[in-house]
């Protein structure tokens, strides 16, 4: 899933006289073509970073700009459209949408990062051990991962949260479990090829214990592709957490969370009070777009190694 389509030009170029480049190597990407592509993704990546910066700014500074509480109802200003006082309007309990969206930013970014960190850590450990040990350990781990992958990620997360009960911590665990298999597969694959590398044999020859070879010599080299996958998981994590919360199985209302706020406004859309749902949705869109564009940039940079 982390693989990028290779669509760069296939012909390598070198100035006359340099004997380094192959005559014409089909299906191999020249570093020049890659550099050009990287520059293109860098432009998009900077847009992504700007989008993320805007959201982080909203999350940190936003609540300081306005005198409204994101949780406490205020019956005197129920479902007001956006105005100079309430920049994004108010919901059916009279809560300021801007206050809620900003507060939710803190929560959603934290949740996305927690989900990704958890999935990355556990997935890399399982994948690393399975790939390094091989044999029966690997077989068992892979069958386990096959089973997890038999569920669409969102449905797996939904099933787990439904059974764990909806607390922020449980939502993080559930979504992390749903995305962990991808990390396992990636790190295991890297590990399988690294295990055969000569420096692994060298480390073994000088008497390093196996856990040390695995953890210290091999795992760090198996991780970069996993970090690339992590940039995708940040975006998917937000979408899934918000989706679960929207359905009522994720973060519990009245907590300010983007999916929760969209859910608050869902029944008002039919009657035209669009602002409750639209603004938190835009926040998700911008954040996920930011993660994806910045992620593409990171991916290109990592692949450029």
């Amino acid at each position: 899933m982390a693989a990028t389509p290779s669509n760069a030009q296939a012909i390598s170029v070198s100035p006359p006289g340099s004997a380094a480049a192959p005559d014409a190597a089909p299906s191999r990407i020249s570093w020049q073509a890659r550099l050009r592509r990287w520059r293109r993704t860098r432009a998009a990546g900077l847009v992504g970073v700007a989008a993320l910066a805007a959201i982080v700014l909203l999350a940190i500074v936003g609540p300081l700009l306005i005198p409204f509480d994101p949780i406490k109802p205020n019956p005197s200003v129920i479902t007001q459209p956006p105005s100079a006082t309430h920049w994004m309007g108010t919901d059916q309990y009279g809560r300021d949408i801007f206050a809620r969206v900003a507060a939710a930013g803190r929560l959603d970014l934290t949740v996305a990062i927690s989900v990704t960190a958890l999935a990355l850590t556990i997935g890399s450990l399982i994948g690393g051990v399975a790939g390094y040990m091989g044999g029966i350990v690997d077989d068992v781990a892979m069958r386990f991962i096959d089973v997890l992958l038999a569920f669409p990620a969102f449905i797996l997360a939904l099933g787990i949260t439904a059974m764990l009960g909806n607390e922020a911590r449980n939502v993080v665990i559930a979504v992390a479990i749903a995305y962990m298999p991808y990390f396992v597969r990636i790190v295991r694959g890297e590990m399988l090829s690294l295990r055969e590398a000569e420096y692994a044999a060298a480390a073994k020859c000088v008497g390093n214990p196996r856990p040390r070879i695995m953890g210290y010599h091999l795992l760090p080299n198996a991780l970069p592709p996993a970090f690339v996958q992590a940039t995708l998981t940040l975006g998917w994590g937000i979408l899934d957490v918000a989706g679960l919360s929207f359905l009522g199985v994720g973060i519990k209302p009245p907590t300010a969370e983007w999916g929760v706020i969209i859910g608050d406004g869902a029944q008002y859309i039919n009657s035209g009070q669009w602002w409750i749902s639209v603004f938190p949705g835009l926040a998700i869109l911008i954040t996920v777009l930011g993660f994806n564009l910045a992620g593409d940039w990171v991916r290109e940079s990592v692949l450029r190694r």
Binding site: A10, S14, P15, G17, S18, A19, D23, A24, L35
Partner: protein, 355 residues
Amino acid sequence: MMQETLPQLNPTPGAGHSDANAAAEPLVRIEGLTIGFPDETGERFVPVVEDAGFVVHRNEILGLVGESGSGKTQTSMAILGLTRRPGKVMAGHVIVDGVDVVGLDEAGLRRVRGRKAAMIFQSPRTSLNPLMTVGDQVARVYVRQRGMNRRAARAEALAMLRRVGIAGAERVAGSYPHQLSGGMAQRVMIGMMVACGPDLLIADEPTTGLDVTIQAQIFELIQQVQAEARMSVLLITHDLGVVAETCHRVAVMQGGRVVEIAPVEELFARPRHPYTVRLLGAMLRPDRPSGDTQEPDPLPERLDIEVGGRRYEAVSVDAWAAAGVGLPMTIEVAPGHFVLCHEREDGADAAETER
């Protein structure tokens, strides 16, 4: 192995291969060809082939040798107008049977491709469509290039597979490329290209990755096909042994330039360009004991040449910058033997000998 004779697809008047300069108008004439690729900023084009020129006569096998990256493949692709983007032909002419393919539109190029010149590539198995049977792929050439109906094309395709030495042609025609061995696939490719009835067959390192015994068979087949169809072959390789056995003339490329052209015997006997000398020096020499590990003489970067009382020097292309030489020129040092060289600074009057 090939009992049947190939039909004479392109009866060409023209010279026999032993006579290199004879034909009035060569089949292919490349002049001042410069092909560039954009550099990393995408603004400037860096030449990978620069001011290259040679001719391919009718009914001859011309070897094109040189190290990887010397521009052999790019030069030959330009003959078919197949320079891949973002590369482009920046200057020069490639005249194939009287038509300049540089700047030719797609429709014009399609009339050249296949009919005038066809190409077989390094990796035969990936050069065949994996989802189409081998027979269908050969047959569609007959449909396309000869305007045959499907039935006739199928029959011709079978005949062609037999002609290129494929045993059990019926069975092979119904199979898919992944079921063929590399050697078989290359035979199919050769059959497919010969089916087009080209005047020129370009073979770009056609035996890379094949077994040594299969390699010999493929070169044998190319020679046979060439003789029977009376076409020309441009054989790209870095195997000088193959060149010695197969080709009539040889062009040597270095750093995007053609540095020396000569009939095979002449080039092997009297190489004049330092790069050619180096290439020949790198050949395995069975006449020398392999245990002989004495330090080889440092090969010269420049060699003096004297023609008609004027003095020139041939300089290895990668030493041009260091040598501070100016524009190169091509001079004929012996009949049909051309070398790219520079005037000596201390030389007498410079009367350039045009190539």
